[in-house]
Structures are given as structure tokens and as C-alpha cells.
């Protein structure tokens, strides 16, 4: 249990962070010998960044392709983001964050719980929809491999155990909070023994360990990939001070 409670979380976090940084660096350190602009964006670097951001915030390419996929994919990503923010805020403020907006102590805890429940449910339903589509739509099923299911199943484990924790009399959220806050400041607090929490915690660690070796690297890969498509085309005649066209993420790496 010592390993599980006090070593694994740090190891998993380290694998996740180092893995993602290395992976991303691995892409960005490669040159872009030939631009693959699909369409050039008027305006400078900022306009291109805005074009990439729009795609990554709203997923318009999914919207144009398949509305249902768009809805479930967008909800899945958006609710995950809210869940992550919720965890951070909830743990940092011990669910008292809404008191800053004038709520009473009890109301803040209630609101925090209700929002967590709602967003958690949305996340779970979205994951289930995406999983169903993967298994039921022949065309998607054909292109899916074991790893595509694995990523979804891991996320579902995280989501379902997290939701269930809210209903378990056994789980003491205050105790969980103390433990997690302790991890963050490197001060050991007792590991809660409620099994639902242990399942949730194990699933999160497994996910972090798996992340940098899987397709989930699209977390940063999406920025790299989309930015390649809006790279400005070269200018002719070549300006006296050298090529002006540069990818979003680096400059002057073309011969």
C-alpha cells in the first residue's frame, strides 16, 4: 500500500509529464521541409493561431462531417475539461469556492457536488456514446484496434468509479481531499481505504501511465498537426533576408 499510495502517483505523474514533453518535443524538433498548407490564413501568426484554436475548441471539422459524432466528441472533451478544473478547484478550496460568489458554506458544498455530478454524468454518457459508435458502426469498427477500446475503457473506469464515489457512504470526501492535497505538497497523509476511491485512483494512475504511449498523445499532437495545415505559403521572389514562411511553432528550420 505504501507503493500504491505514495510512489505510484508520483511515478505516474512523472511518466505522463516527461512522456508528453518528450513526444511533443520529438515532433517539434523535426523540420518541415515542404509546407503542406491546405489553405492559407490571411493575417500573421496570430490569425493562424486563432484558426487552430477555433478548430480545437469547437471541432468544426467534425461538425461538418458528422453532427452526432461532433456532439458526443465535443461533450466528451468539454466535460472532461470541466471535471479536471472541478477537481483542482474542489480540492484546493475544499468545495468552499462558491462562497466567493455569495453562497453559504452548505450551499457551496452542495453546488460543488451537484455540478460534479452533472458534468460527471455528461462525461460518462458521452464516453458510452462514443464507445457504442465504435462498436456498432461497421465503418468505425473496422478501423478500430484494441488500443482504441482500451483508451475508452480506461476513461470509463475513471468516470464510473468517480461518479460512484459520490454515493458511497464509505467514502469520506474530506479524507480523500486531505490525502490528495498532501500528495501535492509532498506531505504524506493517510491513504483513504474506501475501495471505490482506490479503484478510481488506480484507474487514474493507469491512464496517466498509458497516456504518452497511446493515441491520447493527440492532446498536444492536435496543435502540431492543425498548425501544419495553416502554415503560410512561401513568398516569391525570396525576400532578401531569407524565407519568411515559417510554421506556427518554429522559425527558420527550412533550408
Amino acid at each position: 500500500m505504501f507503493f500504491f499510495g505514495y510512489i505510484l502517483p508520483y511515478a505516474a505523474a512523472a511518466v505522463f509529464v516527461v512522456g508528453m514533453v518528450r513526444r511533443t518535443w520529438d515532433w517539434l524538433s523535426r523540420p518541415v521541409p515542404l509546407p503542406l498548407t491546405v489553405s492559407s490564413v490571411a493575417g500573421g501568426r496570430r490569425a493562424r493561431a486563432a484558426a487552430v484554436a477555433k478548430e480545437l475548441v469547437l471541432f468544426p471539422s467534425l461538425y461538418r462531417g458528422d453532427r452526432r459524432l461532433w456532439l458526443s466528441a465535443w461533450l466528451m472533451h468539454a466535460s472532461l475539461l470541466v471535471v479536471l478544473v472541478g477537481h483542482t478547484v474542489g480540492i484546493a478550496f475544499a468545495a468552499q469556492q462558491f462562497r466567493y460568489f455569495g453562497a453559504s458554506k452548505e450551499a457551496s458544498v452542495w453546488l460543488s457536488g451537484a455540478m460534479g455530478l452533472l458534468v460527471g454524468l455528461v462525461f460518462t454518457v458521452a464516453l458510452l456514446t462514443v464507445l457504442y459508435r465504435r462498436a456498432a458502426n461497421v465503418e468505425v469498427k473496422r478501423i478500430s484496434g484494441p488500443d482504441d477500446y482500451l483508451a475508452l475503457v480506461l476513461l470509463l473506469c475513471v468516470a464510473a468509479s468517480g461518479l460512484a464515489m459520490r454515493y458511497s457512504a464509505e467514502v469520506d470526501l474530506a479524507e480523500v481531499r486531505t490525502y490528495l492535497a498532501g500528495l501535492l505538497v509532498f506531505r504524506a497523509s493517510p491513504l483513504p481505504r474506501a475501495w471505490l476511491f482506490l479503484v478510481h485512483f488506480a484507474a487514474v494512475n493507469a491512464l496517466l501511465l498509458y497516456f504518452p504511449f497511446s493515441k491520447l498523445v493527440h492532446l498536444t499532437g492536435a496543435f502540431v498537426g492543425r498548425s501544419l495545415l495553416v502554415q503560410p505559403p512561401p513568398v516569391y521572389p525570396t525576400p532578401a533576408d531569407g524565407p519568411t514562411a515559417a510554421p506556427l511553432f518554429s522559425q527558420g528550420d527550412r533550408p
Binding site: P33, L36, V38, G65, D66, P146
Partner: protein, 450 residues
């Protein structure tokens, strides 16, 4: 399924400067080259890693829709390379194998690559629909290049490359034959307009070097006639070069060094003639190669580089055009719409030249490929070509009665008549955009424009 596409023989491959690999050498060479290529291309590196198999691109690929072959679905196509990459170059793939989609090289690998990388028209429609920006064409272009590094090149591409080496054009037209057909075209134009409209060849000191598609001297003569008339009307100082009579650059579609070599031909000709502006003729992928690759292949350069449709659109006000009474549909060639930024220009030109312009749906950035894209024009591929053209045919049918289909790209012009005939539109007139400019121009009023 094995592709009917014929490959070039080993000695022919050597003739274009590539080194065929012996059977046992194939796997190690492929892996070494893949590693090298991935190292030198950010696009390939990120695209091999990030596809999440969401499937959004699957039904956007005309190749999959037309052939119904599951391996023509973009992510499945890219997986043909991805599984090898996973197996050899990722930790997870080496440790866990198939669970991560990793698979090793086997007896089928190269056949599958040849079949499915050459049933991708490099049209990039999938990229427009991928939320992560995965451009399957980038993967298949890399795949075709790797095949060429093993000496596996379609006979068709090898012949084009050989012709380019010898004559600077795909069709292998030598200079005397070129002069003959220029003479013939000038006579035609004299007869039609009563004016001495010239097609200058190798004229040093010209401001503009025009790079036509070599097919313009055989099958698409109306395109070059339209261009010549426009230059005449504008009083432009222009020339074509017998050394680079080819806007197409097939190297982009099968071998990177061949692409660079042809690109340098353009630069050399422009410098020798002292041209200040290089104008690319009606060729889709050729425009992509010129516009996006010149800097890397031949740069830095001192000339401006433009497409003839852009040039024409900018000069519309100086041309006396009378609208032809025709109902014309516009086909957006993939490489104009998804690499070339030539979307509004052909529309502006056509609106000035014809009475009615109809749009195919979908169009612009979402245009469907004609099915011949990336030089899949081999006769032995005809059956597959017709399947690849199915989506385009449906679009044309849906447009109702049209008098002319404007397709400003030589590959489209070579492919679409087969598609039209096969799908019950044998009488459809198909040609370039500049063809109509030539026909709509009132030469007497335009003359002396400048």
C-alpha cells in the same frame, strides 16, 4: 487484392536514377528509409502518432466511397504504414505488439502499399475533415516515395520521369515537334482571328516565362490558345521554354528527388531567359509543387511565381470579353482548392466569360477529386479509375443540364471524359478555364491592351 498497376522493370528504374532493392534487402531498406523520412518530416512524425480513429474522414474519401474497399478508408490506408512504424519505432509497439496496432513487415506489406497508396488520389479531402489535421495524403506520398526508394515505381511514372529527363516534359515532345505544333497553333489562331497571335518559344529577355502542361500541345490545345490570346490582348512579353514544357511535377507523387529535379528545371529556365515572372499553366498538383516546394527545392529565387488563373483574374478588366451563352459547371481541382488558394479566381474568370455558372456540391475546399488525381492515369488502372471517379460523376449528374464542365487541370481533363462517358454523360464537353477565356475574347477590341 493485388493491383493491376504495372511496375517499371529494374533497368528502367535505374535509368531514372533509382536503385532497385533485391528481395532480401527490401525490409531493412524500407525500415531504414522510413526512420530517416520520419526524422526529416514533422508532418509524418505527428500524423503517424495522433490519429484517434474517430472515423470522421472515412465517408469523406471518394476513393473509399467509390471502391467500397475497407482498406481505402483513410485511417486504414495510413495504418498500412503506421503498423510498421509502431512495431519498429515505438516502445509500446515493440513490447505489446498487435494490441497497439503494431505489425511487422511480411510478404503482403509491399503489395498492400502499392495497391492502396496508389488508390489514394492525394486529394487531401480527408485532411479537411480531420479534427487533428491528419493528412492521409502526406502519409501516402511518403509511402510512394519509400516504395520508389526500393525501386518500386509504376511504369507510367517511370516513363514520365524518363521523358522529363530527356525533354523536360511528360509527353516526351522534342523541340522540333514543339516548333511544329506551335506553328500549327499559330496558323489556327490566324485563321480564326485574322491576327498574328504568337506563341514565342525560348525568347530570351521575356518578362514572363509561361509553363504550360505538355498535354496542351496535343489534347488540350484550346487551353494554350486561350492563354496565347490573352497574352496577345494584354500585349505581354512572354515565352515558353522548350527546356521546361511541363507544369506537372510527377515527382511530388512518387519520388522526392524527382520532384526537386523538375522544380530546378523551372528555376534554371527562368534564370536563363531572364524572366521576372513565372506563370504556371493549368495543372493542379504542378501548382502545388511550384508554389509550396520551390523555396525548398530551388530557393532562394529571384522571380515572382503565379498561376495563370490568378494572373488572368487580376487582368480581367483589361480584356474585352463577351459572355458566351453557355451553362458551365466548375470543377475545383483538389490542388487548387486544398493547396493552391485558387478558389475565387476561376469563378471570377468564368463569370466574365459565360452567362451561367453552376456550382457542383460540395465545392471549394470540400471538392471531390476527379478520380485521376496524383497521376493515376494508367490505362491498366481504368476500372479502378472509374470507381474513383464515381463521386465526381454523381456531382456532375446532380448539376442538371450543362454545356461545359470547366476543369482547370490537365489530369482532370485526362480523367473526366472517361468518367463522364462511363456514367452516362458521353456528350459532356470538358475543358479548361482558359479555353473559355480564349473563346469569349473579342480580339479586335482587346488588342493593344497594355
Amino acid at each position: 487484392m493485388k493491383s493491376p498497376m504495372r511496375l517499371a522493370k529494374a533497368e528502367d528504374v535505374r535509368a531514372i536514377g533509382l536503385a532497385p532493392a533485391a528481395e532480401e534487402e527490401r525490409k531493412p531498406r524500407l525500415l531504414a528509409k522510413l526512420k530517416e523520412l520520419r526524422g526529416s518530416m514533422r508532418s509524418l512524425a505527428v500524423m503517424l502518432d495522433t490519429c484517434v480513429k474517430c472515423g470522421n474522414c472515412v465517408r469523406q474519401c471518394h476513393s473509399y466511397l467509390g471502391t467500397g474497399d475497407p482498406l481505402n478508408a483513410p485511417p486504414a490506408r495510413a495504418d498500412l504504414m503506421r503498423k510498421l512504424y509502431r512495431r519498429h519505432f515505438t516502445l509500446a509497439g515493440r513490447l505489446l505488439g498487435r494490441i497497439t496496432g503494431a505489425e511487422d513487415f511480411d510478404a503482403q506489406t509491399l503489395d498492400a502499399w502499392l495497391t492502396y497508396f496508389y488508390q489514394c488520389n492525394e486529394c487531401r479531402r480527408c485532411a479537411v475533415f480531420c479534427p487533428l489535421g491528419v493528412d492521409t495524403a502526406e502519409v501516402t506520398i511518403a509511402g510512394r516515395h519509400l516504395l520508389s526508394e526500393l525501386g518500386m515505381v509504376p511504369r507510367f511514372m517511370q516513363q514520365v520521369a524518363l521523358n522529363l529527363q530527356k525533354t523536360g516534359n511528360n509527353m516526351g515532345i522534342p523541340k522540333p515537334a514543339l516548333l511544329d505544333s506551335v506553328e500549327f497553333l499559330q496558323c489556327e489562331m490566324l485563321e480564326e482571328t485574322g491576327l498574328a497571335v504568337k506563341i514565342p518559344v525560348d525568347q530570351a529577355g521575356s518578362e514572363i516565362l509561361y509553363i504550360p502542361s505538355s498535354a496542351d500541345f496535343f489534347t488540350n490545345v484550346d487551353t494554350i490558345i486561350g492563354v496565347a490570346k490573352m497574352f496577345h490582348a494584354l500585349g505581354a512579353s512572354w515565352t515558353i521554354s522548350s527546356a521546361v514544357l511541363e507544369a506537372a511535377n510527377f515527382g511530388l507523387l512518387f519520388n522526392d528527388s524527382a520532384m526537386r529535379a523538375h522544380n530546378r528545371r523551372m528555376r534554371q529556365a527562368a534564370e536563363e531567359l531572364g524572366a521576372e515572372l513565372v506563370l504556371q499553366g493549368e495543372c493542379g498538383h504542378g501548382w502545388r509543387a511550384a508554389r509550396l516546394c520551390t523555396e525548398a527545392a530551388s530557393g532562394p529565387v529571384r522571380f515572382r511565381l503565379m498561376h495563370v488563373l490568378d494572373y488572368t483574374a487580376r487582368n480581367l478588366g483589361r480584356l474585352a470579353l463577351r459572355r458566351l451563352s453557355m451553362r458551365v459547371a466548375l470543377h475545383d481541382p483538389c490542388n487548387y482548392a486544398r493547396a493552391g488558394d485558387l478558389i475565387d479566381e476561376p469563378r471570377r474568370i468564368l463569370r466574365a466569360c459565360v452567362e451561367e455558372l453552376v456550382e457542383l456540391a460540395p465545392n471549394r475546399e470540400e471538392t471531390f477529386c476527379c478520380g485521376g488525381g496524383s497521376g493515376i492515369l494508367m490505362d491498366e488502372m481504368m476500372e479502378i479509375r472509374l470507381k474513383l471517379g464515381k463521386k465526381k460523376a454523381e456531382q456532375i449528374q446532380a448539376a442538371g443540364r450543362i454545356d461545359y464542365l470547366a476543369a482547370g487541370c490537365s489530369i482532370c481533363k485526362a480523367q473526366l471524359p472517361h468518367v463522364a462517358a462511363h456514367y452516362g454523360m458521353p456528350d459532356l464537353a470538358i475543358g479548361g478555364v482558359m479555353d473559355l477565356v480564349g473563346k469569349a475574347m473579342d480580339m479586335n477590341r482587346s488588342t493593344g491592351g497594355v
